[in-house]
């Protein structure tokens, strides 16, 4: 069974540009989560999808971040325009259980904004 995949693995962009991160969850997992780890800090929750609906987006830092999950399959996280403080590693996770137990994580996308 394929795990959670994320693309790209690494992205380097200039301040002001746009970047789109993609996450493909494990097939059949309705719950999809995005997290972010800024250098030296803890991993923080961004948002939670149940199928195509946003269950909780309280962790999204500001309106420069837009997450979508059309069709309830893969999800994208767009940052527009990117700022220096957006640099970090963005993790995606999926689970069958909406309570958040046993989430399966992808390898992460390392975003560097210069």
């Amino acid at each position: 069974e394929a795990g959670v995949t994320q693309f790209p693995s690494h992205s380097v962009i200039e301040k002001g540009q746009t970047v789109t991160l993609r996450c493909d969850p494990i097939s059949g997992h309705d719950n999809l989560y995005w997290y972010r780890r800024v250098m030296g800090k803890e991993i923080k929750f961004l948002l939670h999808f149940v199928k195509e609906s946003k269950q909780d987006e309280s962790g999204m830092p500001n309106n420069r971040f837009l997450a979508e999950r059309t069709g309830g399959t893969y999800s994208t996280l767009k940052v527009q325009p990117a700022e220096l403080e957006d640099s970090g590693v963005y993790f995606c996770a999926s689970s069958q259980d909406s309570r958040g137990y046993e989430q399966y994580f992808g390898p992460g996308t390392r975003l560097t904004v210069t």
Binding site: E42, I43, F45, H48, F91, A93, R99, G108
Partner: protein, 112 residues
């Protein structure tokens, strides 16, 4: 509200010696607790989880953790470190319908 504190940012052990990674938590609800490991350039892998069953939890690769409610701790241990255990470890707390909260991580170095 909930929080988790990993008491050591770095731990260094010799190969073959015991490993202890410390984690304290707080939660207003009955928590579930997890340990994840991240090897370089890999995703986060679930090591073990406590979800209100047995307080001593056994995980993969010989790791185990004990839930101690009175001490609000969930320390991760392994009797004998292996070189392949070198990685970053995250303690995580969650409660039903609460967001997952991660600790800041502990980097484990294993010296040959």
């Amino acid at each position: 509200a909930q929080s988790v504190t990993q008491l050591d940012s770095h731990v260094s052990v010799s190969e073959g010696t015991p490993v202890l990674l410390r984690c304290n938590y707080s939660s207003s609800y009955s928590p579930s607790l997890f340990w994840y490991v991240q090897h370089p350039n890999k995703g986060l892998q679930l090591l073990l989880k406590y979800t209100s069953a047995a307080t001593l939890v056994k995980g993969i690769n010989g790791f185990e953790a004990e839930f101690k409610k009175s001490e609000t701790s969930f320390h991760l241990t392994k009797p004998s470190a292996h070189m392949s255990d070198a990685a970053e470890y995250f303690c995580v707390v969650s409660a039903v319908y609460q967001k997952v909260t991660f600790g800041t991580g502990t980097k484990l170095q294993v010296i040959p």
